[in-house]
Amino acid sequence: MKTIALEQAAALIPDGTSVMIGGFMGVGTPERLIDELVRRGTGGLTVIANDTAMPGVGIGKLMRAGLVRRAVVSHIGLNPETQQQMIAGKTDVDLVPQGTLIERIRAGGCGLGGVLTETGVGTVVEKGKRTITLDGTTYLVEPALRADFALVSAFLADYLGNLTYALTARNFNPVIAMAADAVIVDAEHIVPTGVIPPDHVMTPAPLVDYLVAH
């Protein structure tokens, strides 16, 4: 794990790359990293996340700045700007059932090729997908998802990079921390190693590549 300045962290992310971003309606999103990407104008991004938050909040800032070419999300209902960009053809939006999305990411981080799920069978979600019937139940074959970068928001990070999350700000964060080639963490508090007891570590240090300095 390397500790780097915010500017350096955002500079690691080139235009046109894929980024998984933590957060649920803007709760548990690494806002400082988002702000810095907006300041740099890093564009053409593929964003994989639960949702695009609200206008001007969290991932909504990337949307407003026109930096997202493709969004793989479960929900855009609270962000009319995403809907407008989708209709205008500026952003491709892949809508994925929330449970399927997080499980595809989990599979990507756990060395699995994908998952079988009943969710979406017989609906528009099935379009273009294979199905498999096992013991009389039909499942959709949903492929694993990975990204070039994961942008993680943590509550505590220790000097080694062990992480904990707070309350409902956990959401996608520990799952995306398994599923990207480079994991960049913005933590609310950086604390001495040992402050987080072993049983409380939610993301072990070796998964973290970069911790954004305070």
Binding site: V93, L95, Q98, I102, V121, T123, V125, L167, N173, V175
Partner: protein, 222 residues
Amino acid sequence: MDAPTLIARRIAQELRDGMLVNLGIGIPTLVANYVPAGVQVFFQSENGLIGTGPVPEEGMRQGRLTDAGGRAVTALPGAATFDSAMSFGLIRGGHVDMTVLGGLEVDVTGRLANWTIPGKMVPGMGGAMDLVSGARRVVIAMQHCAKGKSKIVPRCRLPLTSVRAVDLVVTELAVIAFPDGRATLLEVAPGVAVADVLAATGAPLIVRDDVHPMPLTSEAIS
């Protein structure tokens, strides 16, 4: 009594001690206000919380504690938090005993459409498809009609949420279930006649001999 309150008070009758329950946004959220006395239920928010409590008092808002609609909530003593993979494992894995969701259309076989109106409203399905496919029991809370048109239809024209039939539909007029895949009238709201329900419903309903008035949880406890 307004329609949402009536619907919530009827659905509260479905709550049993020890249940894990997921409430959707809108009318379903109101069900939490009418938990019968002596019944303890655990409410799940699919963003990662069991033990969701009421909206906090002014000045006590915690930005990292929200429900699945992004509203600030509280966590009751004994609450638990977890990540989204576990949250949807609970849902798909049959650990959620009941979900209460809104509806746009329900057809005569119990199939639900509740996530999009193509060309008008494309919010994304969020967790709705997983909840309808995975929860042990699916209860729909919706007004009987929208703009004068029945929301119970011969066949859904809107995109389906799941091919799995829902278990119960509660409106301000009636309670409808789907035994053997056929819409069946079980209960009518206070002051509503069977004929009123049939007239307001845009699809055939089987009327059981023992149709009776809705039981309602009486008092709001908050």
